[in-house]
């Protein structure tokens, strides 16, 4: 009974948000930009064809960098818009918990990004046409990419609750996302290695989305990586809830 109710509430919020995403032309522009950029980086920068390898490494390695810009743009409206229009007053006085609203909104934005990600399927067809790719790394790469997108999104959802301004939310979340990438970016860790102790570098780079995404790109689905992304999401959404509560006090 209780779970039914939660599912009903989350699905009502989810449906409303999904309609809000797909009801606006911005959504289609976003998807087009995502597909264009990912194509450009994969083919023109990484020289996918010239490498002559039947795998998607050159494709997945760009995902974190693209997400860093595009996911905050998807997330920024989640709460900032509700705060600006005052609609938050009605949502939060419905007989549902803030957690259900946060989760429903998050899922809708995640599904939206999932759709954009799924539309990259021509990449898969291309490698299958070019050679005999190992499907394992492709599947795990997609799973990893989707999880990582969720982690970026949870950051964006959290910053969106901080402000009525979508632009400020975008910039804040861009910076936090940048940190989560750079912490494990080899050129950055190399600089750190000169003076910081080994254990500190390990901790910092373990915090990074990159380090956890890399092995998934290679076809290794480690439970620890999955748990890592899930805990980032939970932590950020929890923070999101606290921020919403604090804002009203």
């Amino acid at each position: 009974m209780k779970t039914d109710e939660i599912i009903n509430h989350v699905s009502a919020i989810f449906k409303r948000e999904i309609k809000a995403y797909f009801g606006s032309p911005v959504a289609y522009v976003f998807i087009a930009i995502f597909l264009l950029l990912i194509g450009f980086f994969t083919f023109n920068i990484s020289h996918f064809f010239e490498m002559g390898q039947a795998d998607l490494r050159a494709f997945f390695e760009w995902h974190p960098w693209l997400y860093m810009f595009l996911v905050p743009a998807v997330a920024m409206r989640l709460w900032a818009e509700e705060l600006r229009m005052g609609t938050i007053e009605l949502v939060l006085t419905f007989p549902i918990t803030p957690g259900e609203v946060i989760f429903g909104k998050f899922l809708a934005a995640w599904a939206f990004i999932g759709v954009a990600l799924a539309l990259t399927f021509p990449m898969v067809i291309t490698v299958m046409y070019l050679g005999e790719p190992d499907l394992g790394p492709i599947v795990s790469g997609y799973i990893g990419s989707f999880l990582m997108a969720g982690a970026f999104l949870s950051v964006g959802s959290m910053t969106s609750a901080l402000t009525r301004s979508q632009v400020i939310s975008f910039i804040l979340s861009l910076f936090i996302c940048l940190f989560f990438i750079l912490a494990g970016f080899p050129p950055v860790t190399a600089i750190l290695a000169d003076w910081a102790p080994r254990w500190l570098i390990d901790i910092v780079s373990n915090l990074s989305f990159l380090s956890h995404f890399v092995s998934m790109q290679r076809g290794v689905l480690d439970l620890r990586d999955i748990l890592y992304f899930c805990s980032v999401i939970c932590f950020m959404l929890f923070a999101n809830g606290i921020i919403l509560q604090q804002r009203r006090a």
């Binding site: 449906k15 409303r16 309609k19 809000a20 609609t87 009605l90 006085t93 419905f94 007989p95 006090a249």
Partner: protein, 311 residues
């Protein structure tokens, strides 16, 4: 029953609501009055659980809004100030969304939404998106949302704000009709509305309750309550004063207007004696004054409101 206990709210150093307490029973319509910034909306936001109080609490139908917020909110219909509705949704889509959140499903949901659209005079705009609606229609959509689930408790923040006179009338009728089995709190700046719908009125100023009474009793606090207003045809002020003074039970005579054609005056009785007016008519008639009109003042809520909130 809605029970508000010692509700307080401060924003930093500013005390927006200061220990207000009251109860509203089913069948009552409580008018919430007060100058701008008095704390009406803030109180309502706390009662509906949107903002946490600094102190005190509200109990809605036995559920404390702080410890059982979801159960309490299930019984509430809330119309916030300025009717915040998602601008990108259609009227039907929005009400359907609210119905789903309220736990209605299948044909019952369809039925509810359709019925509410009719009741709130939204037929014809139900497939329009909210951002294309005029202010009054937007207000009606939000009002529709608040009564959709037929709640036991209704909290309405300026429900007739932005409505045309006909719609104001309809909404007041609707509120009155619903009131038998509901407890309703509504805030307003229109004092006629208090007379038209409320069974009780609370005036708050600077966050505190300064009056809590029925509209009739509040009106009785007016300084002109019970006074007799007289308009005579051309008459000498002195002659009129002398004549009126002779009537027993009269405390004071105030001349309002003494132009050539008419003489207007207000006569205050010593106590609220309904017979004073009658005796005055008799005396004036006997002295051959031409009485154009004569009535007993009920007192005006406006005056009482101003007197209470500016003192």
């Amino acid at each position: 029953m809605i029970e508000v206990k010692n509700l307080s709210k401060s924003f930093g150093p500013k005390q927006a609501v200061n220990r207000i307490s009251f109860r509203v029973q089913k069948g009552e319509i409580l008018g919430f009055l007060g100058p701008n910034g008095a704390g009406k909306s803030t109180s309502m936001r706390m009662i509906t659980g949107f903002i946490p109080p600094s102190d005190g609490t509200a109990v809605i139908g036995g559920h404390d809004i702080l410890t059982a917020p979801v159960d309490a909110r299930r019984k509430i219909g809330y119309l916030p100030e300025n009717a915040p509705v998602y601008p990108d949704m259609t009227v039907y889509g929005y009400l359907d969304f609210c119905a789903q959140i309220r736990g209605f499903a299948g044909s019952e949901r369809l039925q509810r939404v359709k019925e509410t659209i009719e009741r709130c005079f939204l037929t014809g705009v139900e497939h329009q998106t909210v951002n294309t609606l005029s202010k009054g229609f937007k207000q009606r959509v939000c009002f529709a949302q608040s009564i959709l689930h037929d709640p036991e408790y209704l909290i309405l923040d300026e429900p007739t704000d932005g409505l045309d006179p006909n719609q104001k009338h309809e909404v007041r009728l609707m509120i009155r009709k619903m009131s038998a089995e509901k407890a309703i709190i509504l805030s307003t700046h229109i004092l006629d509305e208090v007379d038209a719908v409320c069974t009780r009125a609370i005036i708050i100023a600077n966050g505190s309750i300064v009056a809590d009474d029925t509209p009739e009793k509040l009106r009785a606090r007016s300084s002109v309550h019970g006074a007799v207003s007289v308009t005579l045809g051309a008459a000498a002020a002195d002659a009129f004063t002398a004549c009126a003074r002779a009537v027993p039970g009269i405390r004071q005579i105030e001349l309002l207007e003494t132009s050539g054609e008419a003489l207007k005056a207000r006569v205050f009785p010593e106590d609220a004696d309904p017979l004073v007016a009658e005796r005055l008519v008799t005396a004036l008639a006997a002295a051959d004054f031409e009485v154009k009109s004569l009535f007993v003042e009920q007192g005006r809520l406006d005056d009482v409101f101003r007197a209470i909130t500016t003192s």
